[in-house]
C-alpha cells in the first residue's frame, strides 16, 4: 500500500472496529472504548513527541499521567477548611524548608572547596535539613489526616471548575518533568530509561502514602464533572421526551448522553493537540528535533544545544501525558492511586506508539485507538475462543483452568502484536514520512 494511503486506511479500520462494537455489543461500550481511546491517543501523542521526534526513551509515563490525575483533585475538589486550619501552615512551612534545604545543598556543593569539607558540608546540610523537615512536616500531616478521615483526611483542593484541571495537570507534569530532566537528561538512553521508570514509581509511592495530599489508597471519589449528571437528566422532562422520540428509555439515553458529551470535549482536546503537534513537526523546530534525533553529533556541530532541546521536548511530551491523566480522572470522577501500574500506563502506551508508527503523529493517535480497542476486546474474545476450544472437553480442572486463564491473554496478545509489528513493519503501521 502507498504510504499516503496508510493513515486513511487505518482510520477506516479503527472506525469500523468502534462502530462495529456499537452494533454488535452496545453503543455504551462503543462510546466507552472511544473515550478511553481518545485519552490513550493523547498519551501516545505525548510519547511520540519524545520518542518519535527526539528519540528520548521515557518509561516513566505512568508518573506523569498520575500527576495529571492528582491535579484534578487539587483543582476541582472543595477545600477541607478544618484541615487547612489544623495543618495547612505546617505543610507549607515544611515544603518551604525542604526546598530551602535542597537549594542550600546545591549552593554548598558549588561553593565549598572540593574535598572533605564539601562532602561534610553537603551531607550535614542534607541530614539536618531532612530531620528539620520531618519535625515540621509530621505533626502537620497527622493533624490534617485526623480531620474526619472517613470522608476527607486531606487538605482538599481549590474548588475551581474541573476543566481547569486539564491544563493544570499538564503544568504539574511539566514542572516535575523539568526537575527530572535537569538531573537525568544527561544520562544515556538506557540509564535515562531506568531513571524515568524509577521516578514514576516514586510519584506513585508518594501518591499512595501521602494521605494529606489526596487521601492515598483511600481514593478520592466524586470529583466534579464538566458534563451533566445522569440522575439530573433522568428527571428532566424535556430530556425524557427527546429520548422517547429516539426510541430510547431514559436511563440508557442519559448514559449515552453523558458519554457523548465527554467524547465531544475529549475530541476537541485531541484535535487541538494533534494540530499543534503537526505544526510543530513541520516547523523548523520539528526539523531540528529530528535532525538531533538522527545524528546528535552532527546537530551539535551545527551549533544546536542538544541538552536544552531534549529538556524542552521532554517537558512538552510529559505535559501532554499529564493532560491526558487529568482527563482520565475527570472521566472516572475518581482518583485511585493504586490503579496506576506500569504495564498499563507506561508499557501499553509504548506499544501504541510503536505499533502506530513512531515519528508520525497520525500513526501514534491511530495506534492509541487500535491498541486500546484490542486491550478492551481481547478478554471477551479470549473467553469466547477458550469456551469454544474447551466445549468438547469434559468438565474438570483443566477445562476450568483454561477458561480462567483466558483473562491473561491480554498481555500476551499485546506482546505478540508489538513483536510482530517490530519485525515485519518496524516503522509502525503508519510510518514516518
Amino acid at each position: 500500500m502507498k504510504h499516503s494511503m496508510r493513515a486513511p486506511a487505518l482510520t477506516v479500520v479503527v472506525a469500523i472496529l468502534i462502530i462495529g462494537t456499537g452494533f454488535f455489543q452496545s453503543w455504551n461500550s462503543a462510546l466507552g472504548i472511544l473515550n478511553m481511546g481518545i485519552i490513550s491517543a493523547i498519551m501516545a501523542l505525548g510519547v511520540n513527541l519524545q520518542w518519535g521526534f527526539a528519540g528520548l526513551f521515557n518509561v516513566g509515563i505512568m508518573g506523569f499521567v498520575a500527576l495529571g490525575g492528582l491535579a484534578t483533585v487539587l483543582i476541582a475538589t472543595p477545600a477541607t477548611k478544618d484541615a487547612w486550619q489544623a495543618g495547612g501552615i505546617g505543610i507549607i512551612a515544611a515544603l518551604i524548608l525542604g526546598a530551602m534545604t535542597i537549594i542550600a545543598t546545591i549552593y554548598a556543593n558549588k561553593n565549598l572547596p572540593k574535598g572533605k569539607y564539601r562532602i561534610l558540608g553537603v551531607s550535614s546540610i542534607l541530614v539536618i535539613g531532612f530531620f528539620v523537615f520531618r519535625a515540621v512536616f509530621d505533626p502537620a500531616v497527622s493533624s490534617i489526616e485526623a480531620i474526619n478521615p472517613a470522608v476527607t483526611g486531606n487538605i482538599g483542593g481549590l474548588n475551581l471548575p474541573v476543566l481547569l484541571a486539564w491544563p493544570a495537570g499538564g503544568v504539574l507534569a511539566a514542572g516535575v518533568a523539568w526537575l527530572i530532566g535537569k538531573t537525568a537528561l544527561g544520562l544515556r538512553s538506557d540509564y535515562l530509561a531506568i531513571a524515568t521508570l524509577g521516578i514514576a514509581e516514586i510519584v506513585i509511592a508518594v501518591m499512595k502514602n501521602e494521605d494529606w495530599l489526596a487521601r492515598g489508597v483511600k481514593n478520592v471519589i466524586g470529583i466534579p464533572r464538566p458534563v451533566a449528571y445522569e440522575v439530573d437528566l433522568q428527571v428532566n422532562a424535556g430530556f425524557i421526551e427527546g429520548a422517547a422520540k429516539l426510541g430510547l428509555d431514559p436511563v440508557t439515553a442519559s448514559t449515552l448522553y453523558v458519554k457523548l458529551s465527554y467524547s465531544i470535549l475529549f475530541t476537541a482536546v485531541l484535535v487541538l493537540l494533534l494540530v499543534l503537534a503537526q505544526l510543530a513537526l513541520h516547523s523548523p523546530w520539528g526539523r531540528m528535533m529530528r535532525s538531533i534525533r538522527d545524528n546528535e553529533v552532527a546537530a551539535e556541530a551545527m551549533g544546536k544545544n542538544v541538552t536544552k532541546r531534549h529538556l524542552q521536548i521532554f517537558v512538552l511530551g510529559s505535559a501532554i501525558c499529564g493532560i491526558a491523566g487529568a482527563m482520565m480522572v475527570t472521566l472516572d470522577s475518581q482518583l485511585t492511586p493504586s490503579s496506576y501500574q506500569p504495564l498499563r500506563f507506561t508499557f501499553l502506551i509504548w506499544v501504541m506508539v510503536i505499533v502506530g508508527g513512531s515519528g508520525n503523529n497520525y500513526g501514534a493517535v491511530l495506534g492509541g485507538f487500535l491498541i486500546w480497542f484490542l486491550w478492551v476486546q481481547v478478554e471477551p474474545a479470549g473467553n469466547f475462543i477458550m469456551e469454544t476450544i474447551t466445549s468438547g472437553m469434559s468438565d474438570g480442572d483443566l477445562k476450568s483452568h483454561l477458561i480462567a486463564s483466558a483473562a491473561h491473554m491480554r498481555l500476551m496478545t499485546m506482546g505478540i502484536v508489538l513483536l510482530l509489528v517490530l519485525r515485519f513493519s518496524p516503522r509502525g503501521l503508519v510510518p514516518e514520512t
Partner: protein, 336 residues
C-alpha cells in the same frame, strides 16, 4: 544500655533480611549485567524471566512432592531447581532464536532491542499468568528455621531473639556458590574468556575467531540459570507472585546500574548496597535505640526514616545520587 541486645535486634531485623535480599538482587543484577555486557541492551524482560524460571521450578516441585520425593530439612525446590533452569534455558534460547537473533543480524540500535525486550516481557508475563495464574504460590517445605527466636533466647539468655530462616541460609550459601562458579567460569575457562573478550571488544573478538552465536548461546544459558536461581530463592524467602517479580525489575536494574552496567563485581556490590539501604531506611529503629539509650532518652516515635512503602523509591534515590557523581556506576561500567 544494652549493646548486645541492640546488636541482636539489629541483626534480626536488618542484617539477616538485608543479606538474603541483597544476595537475591545480586543474582538478578548479574543476569542483567551479563546481557548488557554481551548482547548490549537492557533487558526489560528480566523480572519476568525470573518469574518464568521460578514457575517452572514450582511445577517440578509440586510434581516431586506429589511423588513423595523430599529433600529432608531442605526445600524440595532445590531438587527441582536444575529442571527449572533447563526449562527456562530452553525457553530463552527459543526466544533468542525467534526474536532477538533477527535484530542482532541487522545490527539494530540497542534501544530497538530494549523495545523488543518490552514485547518479550509482555509475552512472558502473559505465559506465566496463563500457566500458573496471578495468585500467591507458596512452595517452601522442609524445616522453617535454622535457629528460631525462642531457641536463640534460651541459648544466650538475651532479651532479644535472633531468627534465621532456612530460606535465608540457603540464599546466602547458594549465592556464594553460584557467584564463585560464575567467576571461575568467566576467568578460567576458554568459553568464559571468549565471553569477556566479546564483551570488551566485539570486533577484536570476532577477528580472533570467536564464534559470536556460541557466546550468545552460552550467555542466555547462564542468564537463565542466574534468573531462575534468584527467582526461586526470592520465592522461597517470601512467596511467588508474578506481579511481584515484575516489580523486582526496578531494584535489580538499580543494583546493576549502581555497580556499573556490564560489570559483574559491580552487580554484586550494587545488589547489597540497594538491599541494605532499602532495609535500613525503612526500618523502625525504636527497638534498637531503646536498648542503646538510657530510658530517659528512649525515643517516642518509631524512629523510621521513611515508611515501608517507599522501598522502591529508596533504590531509585540511591541510583540517582550515584549516577550524578559517577555516571557509569561505582565500578566502572560500560557505556555503549
Amino acid at each position: 544500655m544494652d549493646i548486645l541486645n541492640a546488636l541482636v535486634a539489629l541483626a534480626n531485623y536488618v542484617l539477616v533480611p538485608a543479606v538474603a535480599y541483597g544476595s537475591q538482587l545480586a543474582l538478578g543484577a548479574l543476569g542483567v549485567t551479563l546481557i548488557y555486557g554481551i548482547l548490549r541492551f537492557s533487558n526489560f524482560a528480566h523480572g519476568d524471566t525470573m518469574a518464568f524460571g521460578t514457575m517452572a521450578t514450582i511445577l517440578f516441585t509440586w510434581w516431586f512432592q506429589s511423588m513423595g520425593i523430599s529433600f529432608g530439612p531442605l526445600p524440595t525446590a532445590l531438587l527441582a531447581l536444575p529442571f527449572g533452569i533447563a526449562v527456562s534455558a530452553l525457553f530463552l534460547l527459543g526466544t533468542d532464536r525467534v526474536v532477538y537473533r533477527f535484530y542482532r543480524k541487522q545490527k539494530a540500535a540497542p534501544v530497538i532491542l530494549v523495545i523488543v525486550s518490552l514485547g518479550v516481557m509482555f509475552v512472558m508475563n502473559g505465559v506465566v499468568r496463563f500457566i500458573i495464574g496471578t495468585d500467591d504460590q507458596r512452595f517452601a517445605d522442609g524445616a522453617r528455621f535454622i535457629i528460631s527466636a525462642g531457641d536463640f533466647k534460651e541459648m544466650t539468655g538475651l532479651e532479644e531473639g535472633l531468627a534465621i530462616r532456612v530460606s535465608q541460609g540457603i540464599t546466602l550459601v547458594t549465592a556464594i556458590i553460584v557467584v564463585a562458579l560464575l567467576f571461575y567460569f568467566l576467568n578460567k575457562t576458554r568459553t568464559g574468556k571468549s565471553m569477556r573478550a566479546f564483551s570488551d571488544n566485539e570486533d577484536l573478538a570476532l577477528l580472533s575467531g570467536i564464534n559470536p552465536e556460541r557466546v550468545v548461546m552460552v550467555t542466555w544459558i547462564i542468564v537463565a540459570a542466574l534468573a531462575t536461581i534468584a527467582g526461586v530463592l526470592y520465592g522461597l524467602d517470601k512467596s511467588f507472585k508474578p506481579f511481584t517479580y515484575f516489580q523486582l525489575l526496578l531494584p535489580i536494574f538499580a543494583s546493576a546500574i549502581v555497580g556499573g552496567l556490564g560489570n559483574p563485581i559491580g552487580a554484586i556490590a550494587g545488589g547489597f548496597i540497594i538491599a541494605f539501604s532499602e532495609v535500613t531506611v525503612t526500618y523502625a529503629f525504636k527497638k534498637v535505640l531503646g536498648h542503646l539509650l538510657p530510658d530517659s532518652l528512649a525515643p517516642d516515635g518509631l524512629v523510621q526514616l521513611l515508611s515501608t512503602d517507599y522501598k522502591f523509591a529508596v533504590s531509585f534515590v540511591i541510583l540517582i545520587i550515584v549516577l550524578l557523581f559517577r555516571p557509569t556506576g561505582l565500578f566502572k561500567g560500560k557505556s555503549v
